[in-house]
């Protein structure tokens, strides 16, 4: 099963994020790198707090590109996808952003406030640059639209299934509707497409249930932040304890 952890870059500082990415890269199939945005409308409290800590401590896109370049230079090979909001990309310049992604070695891009089809020009630019824009499908996405998303260029990496009707953040259980949703999309997608489920997942039991329903992988975001955020003090974090607990989580969960 694919494990796709999420790292909020710069929370509470970029040096720690780099260490976290190195630790997760040993277990992950893809690492999702969050670029903080001041107004993250698809995110729940945990990622909102992480985002505002990161921004308060001075992270920005240039520094994140720099960190990714450094990690690639060290020889970390796990595929990266950026997860950020559209204004970050727009402000940087859409084409320039895609070119920088390619240059530093980021293969995919998730933009929760850019639904499929909203900016076809950008989708084409990404295709030309060989960057996968990962499509998101929700429980209420209509079938015809879901089909198109599953056929979009970015689906060669994976398609993101949003398990819950809401924002990111840890939930303890899975409801029946979420399982039925994954089964339904699996049927629609056939066997070749990779499907990863995210939003609300934090443990092995949930991962197994989604796997049984037909998911290839799971995205874990808020839970990773919950593991280390209790050790944060200002722009510092107890790195040893945080990384030990991350290691334990990965070995139990995977």
């Amino acid at each position: 099963m694919m494990f796709v952890p999420y790292v909020c870059c710069g929370d509470p500082n970029l040096e720690f994020s780099a260490k976290l990415i190195r630790a997760l890269a040993r277990h992950a199939d893809i690492v999702e790198l969050g670029i903080p945005f001041s107004d993250p409308i698809a995110d729940g409290k945990t990622i909102q707090m992480a985002t505002s800590r990161a921004l308060a401590n001075g992270v920005n896109i240039e520094k994140i590109f720099g960190m990714v370049a450094m990690l690639r230079h060290e020889g970390i090979e796990v595929p990266f996808v950026f997860m950020t909001y559209y204004n970050i990309v727009y402000a940087y310049g859409r084409e320039k952003f895609l070119k920088m992604m390619k240059e530093v070695g980021v293969q995919g891009l998730i933009i929760p406030d850019l639904p499929f089809g909203e900016d076809p020009e950008f989708e084409n630019m990404a295709e030309n640059e060989g960057i996968c824009i990962i499509g998101l499908i929700t429980q209420n996405t209509k079938k015809e639209r879901a089909k198109k998303i599953l056929e979009s260029c970015g689906s060669s990496m994976f398609t993101y299934l949003v398990s819950v009707s809401g924002v990111t953040g840890v939930r303890d259980d899975i409801d029946k509707e979420s399982i039925e949703f994954v089964k339904r999309i699996r049927k629609l997608a056939g066997n070749k497409k990779k499907l990863c489920v995210g939003f609300g997942i934090s443990n092995k039991k949930q991962a197994e249930e989604y796997h049984k329903a037909g998911a290839d992988g799971i995205v874990i975001g808020s839970h990773i932040i919950n593991i280390y955020s209790k050790y944060i003090n200002g722009d510092k974090v107890d790195e040893t304890r945080s990384l030990n607990e991350i290691e334990t989580f990965c070995s139990i969960c995977l």
């Binding site: 945005f37 001041s38 698809a42 505002s52 559209y86 970050i88 727009y90 929760p112 998101l136 924002v167």
Partner: protein, 393 residues
Amino acid sequence: MKGRFGEFGGQYVPELLVPVLEELDNEFEKLKKDNEFRKELDYYLGQYAGRPTPLYFAERLSKKLGGNAKIYLKREDLLHTGAHKINNTIGQVLLAKKMGKKRVIAETGAGQHGVATATAAALFGLNCEVYMGANDAKRQVLNVYRMKLLGADVRIVDIGSKTLKDAINEALRDYASNSKETHYVIGSALGPHPYPNIVKYFQSVIGKEAHAQIMDAEAKMPDYLVACVGGGSNAIGLFSGFLKEDTVRMIGVEAGGKGIASGKHAARISGDGKKGVLHGNLSYVLQDNYGQIRETHSVSAGLDYPSIGPEHAYLYELGNAKYVNITDSEALEGFHLLSETEGIIPALESAHAIAYLKKLVLKCKQEDVIIVNLSGRGDKDVAHVAELEGVKI
């Protein structure tokens, strides 16, 4: 493209909201053509909210400002709850009811839109929750209590800048999570498609009335329209009645705060905003070099927002409307000016439009006609102004 004003507007929202907004758009387009719905809306606007509002010739103000131009005030301040906001909330809450929704949510900055939504929800028997930034709630305790009196729950948003933009973030999250039973009543002509169209539709009554009223009074079109612009709903409501009149010059007045150079303002078009995406639409947005949304400042909470409705961005690019800004201290002068010359205490938002007249009349020819949208009354601001001017009441 659907939902666009040129390149502006759009529907930059999480996938969860895509089908929800599609349904809203369909229902809205259907109801627009439904005579029963329009009759009902007209009934409540007339019998409950107090429409039509007068177009009042402010003779003393005109004289005081040099006597060149004739200044008319569109008296939205006389509406129930004290501002134009009620036009939109009655419309949207009625729309929500027709769609079978049990609950409405809203965001509010100063509290005016929150109060207007809570009012309409009480009128039509729907549950109501209003999101408000913690800093705004502190500044507007009276409106918080008003919303509670009207039966609404006020949800305090304690993250980010703790102001209007954060309240909108939280309302959008709620909407995405609870759209089955909930309608989100956006308060201004912004947000994702179809909201800018919906809000404009319900506010266009201002422009329609003003068009007919000025013909009665002057037998000609006005030379200028002036309205303050936060998100831009009162302005687009007035402008919409005159978009086909080539000779009418439209001016939107943004909040200049402590001056553009200070960085503490909310002047998106007339200041240093850049194109960007916030709250579901592409428009002019106050942001830093990395695309992070900036904190804004205005003496008037209703203008204190980092983006502007997408149709205004379009009117600006086309050259059909002009956008200027007025500082806090100029707005306060306008506040006193109208109070003393006409016996009308304007909302601090509307005081920005009044203050701009002082500059506009210098360019006017004899007998030029100006319509100013007096979008709200100033009762809510009296304590704030006293405090700013060091007066104990």
